[in-house]
């Protein structure tokens, strides 16, 4: 295990973490502000990816498709809010989980009917297609740098909006105590609609950004959704800052665990045992981390909801 390998893996971990942040940011807003469990966030991510993939050949490439996918996912978020979410705001979490799980099933099948079951392809845009030499023989694709940039940019933008605008102030207030915000005369329903649509667009943006490196296929949002939930629970529900740090933490823990757990175990036990135990430990690492964080800080790293 050399220093360069450690440095490369740290960079990989940051990149993976920022990718997770892109997905988790919208989820934490919706969950935090509205106390609404939106399992459909994963399919909004998938729709962003599909729109980008399908539109790319007609919209002059990746960037044109991205520019179209954002307003379209925003609009889809509005539609979903109006017909599925709104009747469920006053209901319990179980009803919300059931209804949004239904959305997952319907949209996954719908996507398969519309675009087929086979994964579809999006080439890396020419502008971002190069790579930089990291170590002997290993290239770091420029596109991954773009994902790092997009993650950092999204984080910065959200920070500016949430901390610096009136809308952000209402979002923060809503996350802390929504009934009080409503009592102060703010139209909470409009706030909710805006947050949901914005959350859907963030999910769509995340989906669009990963199309050149990940497989665009029905159900692609399901695995990501679980990771995104881990991120927002560790970070503290409703907190963008928490989601950002938790995403980086989870990206690093997961990547470094995958890279080094087996090798470190090999120093202690025989190679076959290490090969058996190492990957199991690595895949558990982020959940152990989550359990650890919750044991010490039950509200996550940056809890935003007021106690009680």
């Amino acid at each position: 295990m050399s220093f360069t390998l450690l440095a490369v893996q740290t960079l990989n971990g940051l990149q993976f973490g920022l990718m997770l942040f892109l997905v988790a940011a919208g989820l934490t807003l919706v969950f935090g502000v509205m106390d609404f469990i939106n399992l459909a966030h994963g399919v909004q991510y998938m729709l962003g990816a599909y729109l980008t993939a399908v539109l790319a050949p007609h919209a002059g490439g990746f960037f044109g498709a991205l520019a179209l996918a954002l307003p379209l996912t925003l609009a889809l978020g509005l539609v979903l809010e109006r017909i599925v979410f709104r009747p469920l705001y006053g209901r319990g979490h179980l009803d919300q989980v059931l209804a949004t799980f239904g959305v997952i099933l319907i949209v996954n099948e719908g996507v398969k009917l519309a675009f087929g079951a086979a994964p579809i392809s999006v080439p890396v845009p020419d502008l971002l297609s190069g790579s930089v030499m990291l170590t002997d023989g290993l290239l770091f694709p420029v596109y991954r740098l773009a994902i790092i940039g997009a993650g950092l940019g999204t984080g910065l933008l959200l920070w500016l909006v949430i901390d610096g605008t009136k809308f952000g102030m209402l979002v923060r207030a809503g996350a802390t105590n929504a009934p009080m915000v409503s009592a102060l005369g703010v139209d909470v329903r409009r706030l909710f609609t805006a947050v949901t649509a914005f959350g859907a667009m963030l999910a769509g943006f995340a989906g669009a950004m990963v199309t050149p490196i990940l497989s665009v296929e029905p159900g692609m949002g399901d695995g990501v959704l679980i990771l995104a939930f881990v991120v927002i629970v560790v970070g503290g529900v409703g907190s963008i800052r928490g989601a950002f740090l938790a995403a980086l933490l989870i990206g690093l823990v997961d990547t470094l665990g995958r890279s080094f757990a087996t090798d470190i175990l090999k120093l202690m036990v025989s190679a076959p045992t290490a090969n058996r135990v190492g990957p199991a430990l690595a895949s558990m690492a982020i959940y152990v981390l989550m359990a650890g964080v919750l044991a010490v800080r039950p509200g996550g790293l940056f809890p935003s909801r007021s106690a009680g």
């Binding site: 990989n12 579809i120 990547t255």
Partner: protein
């Protein structure tokens, strides 16, 4: 009097019913048509339907009545649905089956009902060995063989040091074991990844650090698409030979496109295979469905041909189990893959190739054979099978 008429009518209806049943061949096709792996089932279904259509809706001279069901990749659902096929639809043959865990779940109820099971994909080792059955016939392969073909190829090429990367579940471990059966060089590292992993940058960095002569991987479905894209984006394509099984095929090539060009896989057939039956099949399939068939499609097409030949050899007596068993064992048909002979355990003895992803002249992506690795190769479990 009234009773007599009713009785007569009923017995007449019964006779007509039996007569009609004898002229029909009822086939239940169970494949995975939902979830991320639905595309595999789709290839199987489309190819089987094509074969039936080409034979004017008849297999072995009998009108083929094909019921298609989706196992949802859930063994418990599959068992329920297969019981429906056997008891309600009274099928003579169950075919299809995409995944081995589904195959293991349905094998027992199917065999117990003395229904024939013709696999067009899954070939788990128990069914080839100790748990083999005279009701089981495969038109695909035994699960180990494609991995073994890559191991043999690595050995023949003189690769000294190989990194093996597979998902951390049973099929992944079987894959690694299959590769190592014929590869005698050094395994520089064995990387076990999470099932459904998205990002492989950490593993790719490890692989580069190990400086291997080649990597061997088994990453079915979306995992494989992710890996292939990221492998090529990391600049490793062309530097480290990429050997694989069930990773590079016509189900993933539409998504990986250029990223997969030049990467290798082990298979018993590829759309580029140079024999007349194969060429006719590929052309007919593409004309009918507009996409390039994968090995899953080829196996399902051959399953239909195998059933056709067996039913014909048994003189259409599908209810005569012994005649059908003999017919399946000796059935001769022009397999799309070239040579095909039934082994004692009901699995094929066939050739295996290393195949490569290419961009065809018409702009579509497909695999084509590079060289033959095994000739008339049977699986290692056949000797444990006590049918003979």
């Amino acid at each position: 009097m009234k009773h007599v008429i009713t009785l007569a009518a009923a017995s007449l209806a019964l006779t007509i019913g039996t007569a009609a049943a004898q002229e029909k061949l009822k086939i239940g096709m169970m494949v995975t048509l939902s979830g991320p792996s639905a595309v595999l089932g789709q290839h199987q279904r489309d190819a089987f339907n094509l074969a039936v259509k080409q034979k004017d809706g008849k297999l072995g001279g009998l009108v083929a009545d094909v019921v298609i069901v989706d196992d949802e990749l859930k063994p418990d659902v599959a068992v329920q649905k297969v019981q429906g096929l056997i008891e309600r639809d009274k099928v003579d043959i169950v075919t299809g089956v995409t995944f081995s865990n589904v195959m293991m779940a349905i094998a027992k109820p199917v065999f117990e009902s003395k229904t024939f099971l013709v696999s067009s994909n899954a070939g788990p080792s128990p069914l080839a060995g100790k748990a083999c059955s005279p009701f089981f016939y495969s038109a695909s392969y035994q699960n180990d063989q494609n991995h073994e073909a890559m191991g043999k190829y690595a050995q023949d090429k003189g690769f000294k040091k190989v990194v093996v990367m597979v998902p951390n579940y049973q099929a992944g471990k079987d894959s690694a074991a299959g590769f190592k059966r014929h590869f005698k060089g050094e395994i520089a590292d064995e990387i076990y990844t999470q099932l459904g992993q998205l990002d492989f940058s950490a593993e790719l960095a490890k692989i580069v650090a190990a400086k291997p002569d080649a990597i061997f991987t088994f990453m079915p479905g979306g995992m494989g698409v992710n890996l292939v894209k990221q492998f090529t984006q990391a600049g490793l394509s062309g530097k480290i030979p990429f050997l694989s099984a069930f990773t590079i095929d016509e189900t993933t090539l539409p998504a990986t496109q250029d990223a997969a060009l030049g990467l290798f896989a082990g298979a018993q057939w590829a759309p580029g295979s140079d024999n007349p039956a194969s060429k006719a099949f590929v052309a007919a399939f593409e004309k009918e469905y507009g996409y390039v068939p994968s090995l899953y499609a080829q196996q399902a097409y051959d399953s239909a041909l195998l059933i056709d030949a067996a039913v014909k050899a048994a003189g259409g007596k599908v209810k005569d189990k012994e005649a059908m068993q003999k017919a399946f064992r000796t059935a001769s048909f022009e397999s799309v893959r070239g040579s095909f002979k039934m082994n004692t355990n009901g699995f094929p003895i066939q050739d295996f190739y290393v195949v490569k992803a290419v961009k065809r002249a018409d702009g579509k992506y497909a695999t084509e054979p590079v060289e033959k690795v095994f000739t008339a190769y049977g699986d290692v479990y056949a000797k444990e099978c006590a049918i003979n």
